[in-house]
Symmetry: C2
Subunit: 312 residues, 2 copies
DNA sequence: TATAGCTGTTGCCGAAACGGCAGCAACATG
DNA sequence: CATGTTGCTGCCGTTTCGGCAACAGCTATA
């Protein structure tokens, strides 16, 4: 079922590996064959597609345009294949997800588990990374679905849904703040805090708020792992800041208490976006999972925000 | 710049012409070559793509799936080509429009003329047809932009915009009704009327309203040409029914008067939809024209509806 | 019923494209 | 300076593609 010219496939491999010889190894062909196909492509397009550095190849502007087209073609080929397969039998294929750490605690495992009971031949690949890396993985075609903090997203990605969750403080059950319903940032900063490093998006959400305060005390601990921050908070080391999503149901019977942040009377939101490459039609089984993901996240959004309403 | 395998192109040609030999003539190759490529494709997909009738070929279910993929590929190739071209110089290409007759009077010619003063190398192909044919032409990839009466549209088309215009009666200046601001259907039916044939969408808009009336008099004249109906009305033959869009500025200095229809106190709307194939990214110059079309139609919608407000 | 005209398919064969092997120059790294 | 990497290029066998002609199946017309 490979009815597209070798040039397309070879170009795609060279773009991904950044080298002709590496692409040749990947494709199990001689490097000369790959080299010639690239040269032929460049001749047909009428413009160089790669810049030849001593240590590999980099895309030119025209090359990036072609890469976009080739990605559209190959991803749509993928969809076509799965469409034909689903015509005669069960769904089967792989859903590739790129997401930030907050999802790994309950949302994603619950969802994948429940989805696999219904569609057993659909497997999953999930990779955890930073928000900007999530978007980049999508653009490069390395993931089908991306979940990240919703910053401004590039035009070649489509924001399927946008869900807001309250940012809050995470403290041990014995912590002096633990009895409050909500907390302000000032109240937290009176205690030792566990700050996120700039590579986590929580940093970028809190930084502007902290900058507004008159005094900015030194953070006790800085970390780049949501998990580590949570465990530190549970041991009473200090106050951590997270979305409630990342804590989920553990907070009920565990040492942790989640206190929604209150900034001058209004909540502090963390916007979670679900992304997909814009120029793409998803295979049916991927689309189905996506719908379910959006629905589940919407459910969580509703529940968690209702729990902290003025009249809740 | 033809870096896609011949099978793709041949398949596309066969689908369009419905015959291998006709496709071969179109492609300037021997019919045997085309036949072999189709057979090879069917072998690779693992399923027949066409049903062989004595008088040509018809797509099977799998064939339709492949046709969809191939269309996506070729249309995106087209976009890539125009993107590369626009990189080094002026926009050039062709915008292909399928629309219903109402647009040809003023909206489309005005828009095309003004667009060509700014982008001289962009040419236009417009074809007038019925609403359902507009959607079909889009699905078959024979048009880039479609404008039709907004009925329920298939999922593979995207409704870019939806504009509502008032349906009204069209009478000669000397007609007894001509002095009214608005008219009801009953009032019109007291005179000879020029009815649309079922192939025009006006028929489907008026039919349910006429069916509600107690008496349904015989129509004086039936026609399938908006133009003919307008000319007949101008000669005082009877009352025609149209959207104001189809009359436009001519009504000012001509023999015609447009009277918005009043149905039990509320206007009768004719919804105009602008459509595009969903699984497609338009070339930049096409997208630009599309935006302008939507803007202009929105402007007309605002103007014409404001002219008949209760307080206007 | 016979004929003419259309359909898609198939051998045969030359031409074009593809791909593997080995060797080249250019650059980076040690 | 030696070694390992990069991409590129003759040479040549294999594969694929495409044109020509002939074939069988069907339809419409005479």
């Amino acid at each position: 079922m490979r009815f597209h010219s070798p040039s397309i496939q070879y170009f795609h491999a060279v773009r991904r590996t950044g080298s002709i010889r590496a692409a040749a190894r990947l494709l199990n062909v001689a490097s000369s064959a790959v080299s010639r196909q690239i040269l032929k492509l460049e001749q047909e397009v009428g413009s160089p597609l790669f810049e030849r550095n001593a240590r590999g190849l980099t895309l030119t502007t025209v090359g990036e345009m072609l890469a976009r087209h080739v990605m559209n073609v190959l991803q749509d080929l993928d969809r076509f294949r799965s469409d034909v397969a689903s015509l005669s039998g069960v769904w089967h294929g792989t859903v590739s997800i790129a997401c930030i750490e907050s999802l790994t605690e309950s949302v994603l495992p619950d969802l994948i588990a429940s989805h696999r009971t219904r569609a057993r031949r659909v497997s999953f690949t999930t990779e955890v990374m930073g928000s900007s890396d999530v978007l980049e993985a999508l653009r490069r075609g390395e993931a089908d679905i991306g979940i990240a903090i919703a910053l401004r997203h590039p035009p070649d990605l489509r924001q399927v849904a946008l869900k807001r969750f309250r940012l809050g403080a995470l403290v041990a059950r014995e912590h002096p703040l633990a009895r409050r319903k909500t907390v302000t940032l000032e109240q937290c900063l009176a205690f030792p805090v566990i700050h996120a490093l700039p590579e986590l998006s929580i940093y970028h959400l809190l930084q502007p708020l902290i900058a507004q305060l008159s005094e900015t005390p030194e953070p006790a601990i800085q970390a780049n792992s949501i998990d580590l921050m949570r465990e530190l908070a549970a041991r009473g080391v200090g106050v951590a800041f997270q979305t409630q999503l990342g804590i989920g149901r553990l907070s009920h019977d565990a040492q942790l208490v989640f206190l929604p942040l209150d900034n001058a009377g209004s909540p502090v939101w963390s916007d979670l976006g679900i992304y997909v490459r814009a120029e793409r039609t998803l295979p049916a089984f991927t689309e189905s999972f996506l719908q379910e993901l959006v629905r589940q996240l919407g459910e969580r959004e509703r529940q968690e925000n209702a729990a902290y309403q003025p009249n809740g």
